[in-house]
Symmetry: C3
Subunit: 465 residues, 3 copies
């Protein structure tokens, strides 16, 4: 069982999040690490057996249904590429030294390389070699999904010492025109059909922050949300290969999403040393989840780095937020792609990412989703005049100097503060103001209102709009 | 006769208000003081003979119709309570000393106390005693309308010296289930059916700023507005017991108000030492009267303290602004409840309030209402091209260096300034912009435009939208 | 042939404008000066032979159709005045000295003076004399179109030394009730019926900045725009007498303009020493051309002085922006009326105005109009997901450290920058955002997007909304 929100109704602070994290994750951390170690060595790509095997490992924690889309299927302006399978890849030098070997690291070969078995000079080899001069010890991650070519990736230091002479480039790969692209998804039913989308991608091979952190956070969130007493929203969990996977998902489920989702998050880069979560706004920019993140950042100690929406970088939110769909989907990250040196290299390891950072991200996002359930519009059932609060035991019926609400005392006692929030919610809940809007107008954090909302719902004074 | 607005058309300054005040109130001050002295000693509550008697005294100045609503009537979520009548109340100590006596001050008994005639120990008496420790010499004002109990109020200094022994608590009161709740109202017809609501409450016993100032300002405003040459709006004057009274009024007249009122003010706490009037916005926040008050505060020397709307404190505006009605009703005060120590105690006296402050509030609010009549939208009758101003003698027909309107001179003469305002009003009065909006855009005070509007209406160039 | 926009797609800077100017105007400057010299000496007014003759001179450069409206025609609230013709005007002193002579300067007589042939004393003459004391050497420009009077204008220094004695005032003018008011106009067809209005006025006699600069810029713009490869918009060129002329034009073409124009400029005061162009907003304030000018001013080195709209001063934009029409018409000037001493006097000469400044204004406004053609809303033809950019050769298909778009390098190479703009345009072009809005949101200048728009249109990915 996960703890419910603090009953005091005061604004969350750093400590609340830390406690929330501790309570839940003492056991979970070891499970997450175990799963990481299973997923790490697999040679994944946007299609192929590595991706399928990885989805099956995730099924230990989340009941994903695995779907297949045949190669060659039209997906909007795109086409599902042939399935890629790779059996071996090795670059051998004139002296017999193996300079790149998929068995050492699966980043050693350009992802989606065509097969090759040829001998060639150092000069002929040059255009097929990739390094990262800014991180000379690391093997970079290079892909070429839609332009048929082949290549090897190696540390810049190794590259600089390559001898002259004849090399043997050997890549045993194949493109299966009768193959498939796979994705996994599942739904956790709530009280309403309104959905929250949680989407991540699993195509990257042996890299940790980008991108085993995303699938690990997603599957852990499933385990947490499954235990909630009640869920107002239905939660949809989606694991795809990046870009072509979310496009495929939209081609099959886009209309459903457009009709049902109230909020969504692409989960990516959720480990790493950054302290705060880093949120990229939805394209619309002011949807419920945008406003909630802003409210927490501004009026509690739960801080975020908030980035504007942009279609020039990022991940699957670019597809969910393409103008034809324009879904209310943001992106939640922590140490963001491009903001750390080891991005897209062999240096993006478990050590850099840290299992603890991943589990803390789970706790923070779970808390955010809990608040999201209280953030939408409610409607005062008795909007003509103020309700007679004494009848619901919400009012101290004697108005003496100690209880009067116009007191100038700086410190209002809990009861007065509760009564203030009752009146604020009843007055502004006219079906047009969301709780986030109301909280913002008061300069308060949304989580202060959650316990009051529960009470007013119980008294029959407030209903979900 | 009240003076019309200054004909110069320049922005009001402190002096204008002061002169306005002087002209009107030389005679009025003594009338107001006389009425205050008649109303002060009456034991009022939200129902009962004291409230009725007070309404009748107000009828000397304003032709209020007095209405009755039977006890037990359902009013939205509320019910009109039984009528309360009190004949005597006395707390006698073991030594025969009378420690609280309604004949000394009608605050000595908890308002709406149940009858009691009993002997009890000091300890048994304790929960029935109320004091204000922050103001130990004062008797606090305590009410318990909807929770049947009884009690006495006394200075904290007296309370602290109460001897041990047997006390005699005696309250001769009754609850009449066949009684009524009363309110008074009247209407001053204007040229249109659009209404301005002026509402105040009269239920408080012997306190001055809160709340004899409100009814005194309301009845004085009636006397002033009655004398206006013409009234564009119809003015509705309402005197109720607080909360249950405005709820009752809304239950009977809410639809009418919703269809007709363009602005409204709850009048309360209009005496006291504060220099500026203190305005609490309507719930909508940007209605005509909100914008007008802002305009005056920003662009003239007529300053206001402007408070945001809140449902957590205040008076009947909370009912008028409940979400089902959401009327454009603000609250006008001066030294506001909760902002002065003597609030809701026996120290809130005529001396604290001051008759002069009350009469100055009348002058200021009357001036505000005068401007309100010019603040709404007008429509240019000849919107295609500029009208031919020479025809209306609004233009100097010779365009020489001395009269040209593009002059760079800092000091434009009156004629040029008048012409500028003619052009501004004609250009922007397209039926969507109110005069306040136009004035704000120009960084000018609304009262600069009033004489120009009158002229343009006379020429048939501008009409009320 | 005029040069197209710079192909690099980087933000315009001062140099771009200067080069643009040089390329075009080496030949044009002498043509403009020739035309100026022809127009300068003519005695113009709002009606009459001088105005007609001037229109015919402009026809050398722009195929204006000349229209006539009979005197006495009702024009909204106005009436076309009788045609004014003047043959001679002379003020002779007691000593035989001629103190004012239309043959010396046509400003010497009040424009629209009634005929007079009378002898009168110095005192009787006084109300008929006009000077500009602030510029004592200059003859002021005075008009009296609608108030039948007569008068002479002379330098204040001359006026101060006028001797006593009998003067002879002689004005040989006539008012022809069967005359006409003239204006000229022509249309340069574009690909769509959407129109851009360019309007100027020609009624001022011998003054240079105000107002031969306007007609000279207008006719030069015609010559430039005629040479464009393609015009998205249709351009309407209008030359009127000020105020009564634009009113007349609106009375005949107002409905057409209201239905078709997307932007417009009144051209006036376009010479003089000011460095930047000075733009007066449309009444609406946020139309396409307002936003474009703001964008250039903020995000390029092409600076503007931006003035708010006001109906209190200015020119024909006051008629185009009267509330009944409310057209998206701004005013483009440089050294603005009222901002220079020689305004409306004989000191407003070719030397003050400078032909070079006029020709530079042409270059700047032409550039602005070019950008305007790319500033409106476009629509992404493939809005579901991102288009598959590789198919259109818009994407580098291999994602290696050197090409990835999340690079942290400060300096993105041109290809990446181009790709960013492709994605930005495709994502935000949903039919609601104009290119100016998109550019503003990115903090970039509109002209950076123009080459990308052309490319995307060619690929069939973007179309005009």
């Amino acid at each position: 069982m996960t703890p419910d929100m603090p009953s005091t109704g005061y604004s969350i602070n750093r400590q609340v999040i830390i406690e929330f994290h501790k309570t839940i994750f003492d056991m979970e951390v070891s499970r997450i690490e175990k799963r990481f170690d299973e997923l790490w060595p697999i040679t994944r790509s946007i299609t192929g057996p590595g991706f399928r095997k990885s989805l099956k490992i995730l099924q230990e924690d989340i009941p994903l249904e695995i779907e297949s889309i045949p190669s060659g299927t039209k997906v909007f302006d795109w086409e599902v590429p042939p399935e890629w399978q790779i059996h071996d890849a090795k670059l051998t030098g004139p002296d017999g030294t193996v300079y790149a070997d998929i068995n050492e690291t699966n980043l050693a070969v350009v992802n989606y390389s065509a097969p090759v078995d040829t001998h060639l000079t150092r000069d002929e080899l040059e255009p097929h070699l990739h390094t990262d001069p800014n991180l000379p010890d690391a093997t970079p991650y290079v892909t070429s999904y839609y332009n048929r070519t082949w290549g090897f990736c190696l540390p810049h230091t190794v590259y600089e010492d390559l001898p002259d002479g004849e090399y043997h480039a050997y890549i045993d790969s194949e493109f299966d025109q009768d193959g498939v692209l796979n994705y996994g998804h599942t739904v956790l039913k709530g009280e309403t059909d309104k959905e929250v989308l949680l989407s991540t991608y699993l195509c990257h091979p042996s890299m940790a922050n980008n991108e085993l952190s995303g699938p690990l956070v997603l599957s852990s969130l499933y385990r947490q949300l499954e235990q909630w007493d009640h869920r107002k929203y239905t939660y949809r969990f989606v694991v795809v290969p990046e870009t072509i996977g979310s496009l495929s998902y939209l081609s099959q489920h886009g209309d459903h999403l457009a009709n049902n989702i109230v909020a969504g998050l692409v989960l990516t880069c959720l480990g790493g040393p950054n302290d705060a979560l880093s949120y990229k706004r939805t394209r619309q920019g002011d949807t419920l989840i945008d406003l909630l993140v802003e409210n927490l950042d501004r009026y509690s100690e739960y801080e975020f780095e908030i980035r504007p929406f942009t279609p020039t970088g990022g991940s699957d939110e670019r597809q969910y937020c393409s103008p034809g769909f324009n879904l209310p989907v943001g992106q939640m990250a922590r140490t963001v792609y491009g903001n750390y040196d080891s991005y897209h290299t062999s240096h993006d390891t478990k050590k850099f990412m840290s299992i603890d950072a991943v589990s803390e991200s789970v706790a923070r996002i779970e808390y955010l989703l809990k608040l999201l359930e209280y953030s939408e519009r409610y409607e005062n059932v008795k909007p003509y005049g103020e309700p007679f609060l004494s009848k619901y035991d919400l009012y101290t019926s004697i108005n003496s100097p100690e209880t009067r609400s116009n007191s100038t005392d700086d410190i209002k006692n809990d009861q007065e503060d509760f009564l203030d929030k009752v009146r604020i919610l009843l007055n502004y809940s006219d079906g047009t103001n969301s709780v986030v809007t109301i909280a913002n107008r008061q300069g308060r954090c949304v989580d202060e209102f959650a316990p009051v909302i529960r009470r007013l719902q119980r008294e029959g004074l407030l209903e979900v709009r």
